[in-house]
Symmetry: C2
Subunit: 310 residues, 2 copies
Amino acid sequence: MNSSALVERILEGSPRAVGRAISLVESGAAEGVDLLKKLYPHGGRARVVGFTGPPGAGKSTLIEAVALNLLNDGSGVGIVAVDPTSPFSGGALLGDRIRMQALYLHPKAFIRSMATRGAMGGLSAVTLDAVDVLDAAGFDWILVETIGVGQDEVDVAACVQVVALVLVPGLGDDIQALKAGVMEIADLFVVNKADREGAEKTSAELEALSRINPATGNPPPILRTSALARQGIPELVEGLRQVHARLSVPERARQKGLQQAQARLSRLVGDRFAEHVRSSPLWVEGLDAIAGRRRDPYSVCESILKEVLC
Amino acid sequence: MNSSALVERILEGSPRAVGRAISLVESGAAEGVDLLKKLYPHGGRARVVGFTGPPGAGKSTLIEAVALNLLNDGSGVGIVAVDPTSPFSGGALLGDRIRMQALYLHPKAFIRSMATRGAMGGLSAVTLDAVDVLDAAGFDWILVETIGVGQDEVDVAACVQVVALVLVPGLGDDIQALKAGVMEIADLFVVNKADREGAEKTSAELEALSRINPATGNPPPILRTSALARQGIPELVEGLRQVHARLSVPERARQKGLQQAQARLSRLVGDRFAEHVRSSPLWVEGLDAIAGRRRDPYSVCESILKEVLC
């Protein structure tokens, strides 16, 4: 299939074409970039929600439940998993996969895990590319699962419209600790496994914390779910809709769009440039000198920039 | 204090000077870079060990125990925590801090947590800078605590000499899942909280996994500890020494040194370049066009590179 035909099939929403496109993008082939250029103008319509939180918080089960709820309402749902410990990422239990059959077999669902870091750029780059493909393919909702730690995660969070932070009761003082991390990027909190002891305490702590937080505007809503028991899911979906609507008022959306573009372009430009200079003789010499402690990375970096910039 | 005086104090191992230097580096001030250039040639002597693993695995308690063991042997120990949920990172329980008094008060110990992402580059950049400062200051061992997920973590792992992956019993199928992630960068496995049920099973699973893994050379040793009860710590320290010695044979060390230089220089060059082009008019126009879906990030990136490269 040539590139234009593939683009057409994607815009029609063909799951096979979508899968193929994401594989192309992951492989780092030039056709992948070509494709992304053609698809990008068609995107911007999907509601993109990031689910972030520690391993074991039940993010995948929660995403499964949310996705089924949305699918039942007639929406198309794309899922991108970045968490290597996610059932979506093939590190899965067979049991999980069997349970998730309804989701895997649904004609309006598409599930993809980003296992590799991609040929160029980090995991964040290919993840955002996958979101672009799904967006162009007309999925109404795109749910992104990430662990929520590290630069990649922050980059992904910067590029979704709503960030849901998923926690479980009994994290105890970890909640305090989270303050330093992803806490401030959360638009909505989910206390999952809320049938466990301590759910109330966890919610109360979150509430206290988000009141201390000098967030502008409304504090993030706190919702309790039990994804496995399918409890609290309609309320969560409604919460996501509301937060999305609140964050989509024109001025705010414009701001967010620019931030997203900035985060994305910074990483892209940086990665491409690093790739470019790796063929320079200064690069090879520099590596050797750094490894031998004859030169420091900062001086080598400066020499390289001086050499290649106009 | 001027820059040369500060360098001198750092080379003498003054904790205050080291602290000051890391703060300078974190602030992104030009003096920080200046300092790093002067310090870098003096480094390369420390044994740098990364402790990575999920939140709750007890990494900080383990590092505390390992550090005390090394200090008792007369070594100087620097600790850098990148994990935002670490007690070292101020997300700490007061109780943890009190327990860790012996470590905090030890004259040959230096503890620093990298809470911020640093002014330029990501968390990984400032972390590695902090390691350089400690290295130049003559610390014999530098222990780096990270969560082990995401690009930053991979970058940090690429720049330490030994990676210890810390797990706990009862992770169950998470171990399988870990395969996809940090598993292959581990030089040594620690099953911490080994007094808990399932420690044997976890060790056995790790062993099975590392046998499947097509690793070159020896499979990573698997050690059981109970950091809080101070069990298995001398054995772990001995294990770290052995792995370090094994990885330090000249050819291997040279290879690793080049890899580290490459990982570090790539990120540095990329970040600096992105910073550079942010002042270009193409950048501002580009962001607006991307946000409005009039242009795609890839085309904008190409235009920018074309403009600024010779």
